[in-house]
């Protein structure tokens, strides 16, 4: 949970709405786990005022990559960074994914949720874990970054509103087929309430393990301010946890989706 000033190596538009930023992390001693995130200062001026939380999309020994959707003032500021500029990040933050002895995992990512799951896929492939991903988005254009997963060796299925195959029913059929055919043991999802509910349902039905990466509006991202709380079901009781500190990744069965 330290602040780092990291040199920007690359900051490019990768599709209509998505950008990719690569920073040099050689000065940063901490390990970074898939599912962890950074709290980024998007501008030196205090406008926008707060930092922005972004998952790490890709981790190498010397670099970190962020895949981000250009949404509002903060991410617009981010697009202005150029090679040689400095990115002020706080992190790595939070608890990442638990990847243990799984053999075959299935990721379901909606939209920019892929940014969070990609790092997990990367690690799974490194561990020799089989990895399949269903990527859902508004348009094909939003799924361009799926190619990176394919290059890694992940089997990628794409569904979009454009094509009309992204509704929950269609995804459910696809998930069932993959779970059964590949003998999936773990599910991971991020980015959609509806896909999270679907994942939870299939998790129970098939008796699988799994995790969900949550998002909440954040203040400090250090566990101090209790802005980012979410309810968790555990030991028969509802607990309030901080997405930035106890999360953002939680056991799938514990997450209470409202």
């Amino acid at each position: 949970m330290k602040q780092h000033l990291l040199p920007v190596l690359k900051n490019i538009q990768v599709s209509q709405r998505y950008w990719l930023m690569v920073v040099d992390r050689t000065s940063m001693p901490e390990n970074v786990d898939p599912g962890q995130f950074f709290h980024l200062r998007t501008t030196e001026a205090l406008s926008p005022f707060l930092r922005r939380p972004l998952s790490v999309y890709r981790i190498t020994e010397t670099t970190l990559e962020f895949l981000y959707l250009v949404k509002g003032a903060g991410t617009v500021e981010m697009t202005k960074k150029e090679t040689g500029d400095t990115l002020d990040v706080l992190g790595p933050l939070g608890q990442g994914f638990q990847l243990g002895s799984q053999k075959e995992i299935l990721l379901t990512a909606r939209g920019v949720g892929i940014a969070t799951l990609a790092a997990l896929a990367q690690k799974a492939v490194e561990n020799g874990t089989g990895c399949t991903a269903i990527l859902s988005a508004r348009t094909k254009d939003d799924l361009l970054s799926g190619e990176m997963l394919e290059e890694m060796g992940v089997q990628v299925y794409r569904v979009t509103e454009e094509q009309g195959n992204s509704d929950v029913k269609a995804v459910e059929a696809q998930m069932r087929e993959i779970i059964e055919q590949k003998d999936i043991d773990s599910l991971y999802t991020c980015g959609s309430r509806r896909l999270s509910l679907l994942n939870q349902r299939l998790l129970h039905e098939y008796g699988l393990q799994g995790e969900i990466a949550l998002e909440e509006q954040m203040g400090c991202a250090m566990g101090a301010c209790f802005s980012c709380v979410s309810p968790i079901q555990k030991d028969g009781k509802e607990h309030s946890v901080r997405v930035c500190y106890e999360g953002p990744v939680f056991p799938m069965e514990q997450v209470v989706i409202s």
Binding site: Q217, G219, C225, F226
Partner: protein, 316 residues
């Protein structure tokens, strides 16, 4: 040159004038900032019984600030005594728990309990929270209630009491004087400004609880004015709070009359804001050849205004 940074709050001596603002600080931040260098530790306000806090989203940003409505999520006094106090007691800095209560009796009870704990050095009474017995109006919006609350708490307290005022009042001087008269050993000026922001696309408030408290540099000029006014009205020390982002802001508040400052929201932007602020103050003192923090407090040189009065009320 050795700098005397000591600040006196009743019988308590703080090693320096920079401390966190309640609610924007937690034990988790020890990785980011050196707690042993702080003037005091001020944890999140504690309530007597556990309470869950407000609906999310609990924060949103505004121009130069943020609105929060956490709703004093709290695990209750019992757990606080068991877990929180020992956790903070491990550091050198004096510990100043912040109390939030629903009525004067509860404030008094909690003051009694907490002030007799050996690791508690002073208490901050968050009288900006709503008085459930007065239609939800904050205690600190009424001078009589403020006076009564402070006198009752003072009777039972074994440590200095700091009253944290609300800025949502017509006359901060009046409330400040009432708190002093009631027995406050110091005042924190001030808590957040009640505020609201609406998403014009969805038409919904950006905060789950509809309204919340505004903090950050946006409000600093109002707080500096209130510090000056309160300092004219009382002779107890004032702790400035609201929008301190760096040493310059802290010094501005101290020149206006604050003996110390609290840093809240700034830590969200710059995790080392607390110690950076202290470093800035030290550098300023060296540059200006000041040996004691006392050479700063209240040192504003007000300009004689029309008719010799300090402030001629017409603005626009």
């Amino acid at each position: 040159m050795t700098l005397d940074l000591n600040v006196q709050i009743g019988t308590l001596t703080l090693p320096n004038p920079v401390m966190p603002a309640s609610g924007a600080f937690g034990p988790e931040m020890t990785e980011a900032v050196d707690f042993n260098r702080l003037g005091a530790l001020v944890p999140k306000s504690i309530t007597n019984l556990p309470q869950p806090g407000n609906a999310t989203p609990r924060v949103c940003e505004t121009h130069g600030g943020m609105i929060n409505s956490i709703g004093i999520q709290s695990k209750g006094l019992e757990k606080y005594l068991e877990e929180t106090i020992p956790e903070y007691a491990a550091y050198d800095a004096p510990l100043i728990p912040s109390i939030s209560a629903e009525d004067i009796d509860e404030f008094t009870e909690m003051t009694k309990t907490l002030s007799s704990h050996p690791d508690v050095d002073a208490l901050e009474l968050n009288i900006s929270c709503p008085n459930l017995k007065a239609d939800g109006l904050a205690f600190g919006m009424d001078k009589d209630v403020t006076y009564e609350l402070l006198s009752r708490a003072k009777e039972v307290s074994r440590v200095p009491l700091i009253a944290k005022l609300t800025p949502n009042v017509t006359s901060i001087q009046e409330i400040a004087a009432a708190a002093e008269k009631g027995g406050a050993d110091a005042l924190t000026v001030a808590n957040t400004f009640l505020a609201m922001a609406i998403d014009v696309e969805t038409r919904e408030p950006l905060i789950g609880n509809n309204m919340g408290g505004l903090s950050g540099p946006a409000v600093k000029p109002i707080i500096v004015r209130m510090i000056y006014q309160a300092a004219q009205a009382v002779s107890i020390p004032i702790i400035g709070c609201g929008g301190v982002m760096n040493g310059r802001d802290a010094l501005e508040m101290m020149l206006a009359g604050a003996s110390a400052v609290q840093v809240g929201t700034a830590s969200f932007i710059n995790p080392t804001a607390l110690t950076d602020t202290l470093d800035d103050i030290e550098a300023y003192m060296i540059r200006h050849e000041l040996t004691s923090i006392q050479d700063i407090i209240g040192g504003v040189k007000m300009k004689p205004s029309e008719g010799g009065v300090l402030w001629h009320g017409r603005s626009g």
